[in-house]
Amino acid sequence: MAEAAIALPQPLIEGDKSIAQVTHDVCAPMEARPTALWWVALLISSSFLLLGAAAIAYQISVGVGTWGLNRTVGWAFDITNFVFWIGIGHAGTLISAILFLFRQRWRTSVNRAAEAMTIFAVMCAGIFPVIHTGRPWFAYWMFPYPNTRGPLWVNFRSPLVWDFFAISTYFTVSAMFWFIGMLPDLATIRDRATAKWRRKLAGVLSLGWNGSYRAWQRYEVVYLMLAGLGTPLVISVHTIVSWDFATAVLPGWHATIFPPYFVAGAIFSGMAMVLTLMIIARKLMHLEDYITIRHIDRMCKLVITTSAIVGLAYGTEFFTALYSGSSYEQFVFLNRALGPLFWGYWTMVGCNVFVPQLLWFRRVRTNVPAVFTICILVNVGMWFERFIIIVTSLSRDFIPANWFHYAPTRVEVATLLGSFGLFFTLFLLFCRFIPVIAVAEVKGVLKYGKPRLESAHE
């Protein structure tokens, strides 16, 4: 046995589970009454959601003037939040698609939740481009539909139209990916449900899935296809988001480094958010056997990798500015580091570059509270990264007479909190109603790392 253990990779799932146990472990918490802790969490997150909804309703009825924007700084919290949430969304697709293509089987424990996170994050993100417009009731004009105006189409040269297409495609594909992945599990729920409504609902949603292998075969193909399509998609989405800035003329925005820089940043923040959520979920839902310390360890390695890329990008930006010979460009970066928002800049660098360095140490990577804290800090840092990029470039651009500062209003802060409220509310509901772990996939990796014994079934 000892030799076998050395020869084999470590098991992905701990506790020597049987297949039925897996089903039970994941589904049982959903079927039981929600715990008090869950109710408390839902209460908190939904009150934030309500706060945000009220803020948005107020903003839409009164005007964008209820935000702290001005004629110099036309975007701040709104687009910061948008990019932040879109970035968060990237880890889900990364885990489900890219890791799938790389045959990283450890993803199975976390991909469901990560994908859910993606969808919720994209939903949070999608709110902001709509509400940031002065007339959100006309936001649909960004879609090129036949109309009575000539017809007058849209401007396909505008990165905002690219955004519109990228985000809606990304949301659609992610949702489909998630749903396809969930199909066998929905069937499982349907078949073991005792509550009538649950059986009915799962019955409708599971599309009559019955585990037929002919379906499984195509399922695997489609899943691979979606993963294959999702991988360039996820990269394109944040690339396009970065073009919102990179195609502009503003110093500090107008940079070719933005696409890889933003994609790395997105994955970085997304991984941190996945880790945060997984650490919460494994505690709350007692899934320590499925989301093991090794999972956390591996994800931490991804975090440190992307952190290094982001750190390199920060350095490159400064170098490019220095090398450009453009005094506007040089000024913008000096202004970031030493100007009025220096604290934001150094928060960003500290949280995104310095703090993750702790993850070089295995002891840190396997220390759950430490990882949790680092991940929270990374997300704070990544929020500030977007804020700094947007606000410092806008507030002090070419003509000094235009310079002005920016300060958020209560409405903006409430909207940001509301987006977190929406995110966590959806996540909590997800935990209650949908298997947090991809049951069918985990079953497939159960034997991973276990000696294959002929008589495994006495």
Partner: protein, 176 residues
Amino acid sequence: MSKRLLVGVFESEDDTLAAIRASRQRNFKIVDVYTPYAVHGVEEAMGLAPSRIPWVVFALGVLGGGLKVWFEFWTTAVDWPVNVGGKPFNSLPAFVPVTFEVMVLFAAVGAVLSFFFVCRLYPAKRAVLPVAGVTDNRFAVVLEQTDSTFEPAEVQKMFEKLHAVHVEEQITGEVA
């Protein structure tokens, strides 16, 4: 038109695979295999032909991308050319991002819809399971009793040898 089926129910994927291989060896007609997860090797064991969905996806991707690039060109350079920032009417490089997105969207939606279509999956479809538990922890191999050479008792014995937990006969007109 009813069929007589023999269903072997197993507990592990290894046993299931062995049962499939054994059935194939004996030229039994395997109607289908039901597993709670995608068990690797069943495809080869059952001798299923590779899916043609990738071709559909490819075609749809090309179609989506092509349509979009044409649409962008037509709207900005033909139908109503507008001088936007001094850029040429046909600003092809600027059309790339949206073209890519629409290509992916067409391909992905096509993949999923064609999957639903070929597997006959649709909302609220009545799920037909050979035995309970195939979505939990049971594996089922369904054989069709094609002709008289098919001896149910013998097959049952064979399955039981391969650790089948349960073997049953079913008569149905519907199981696919």
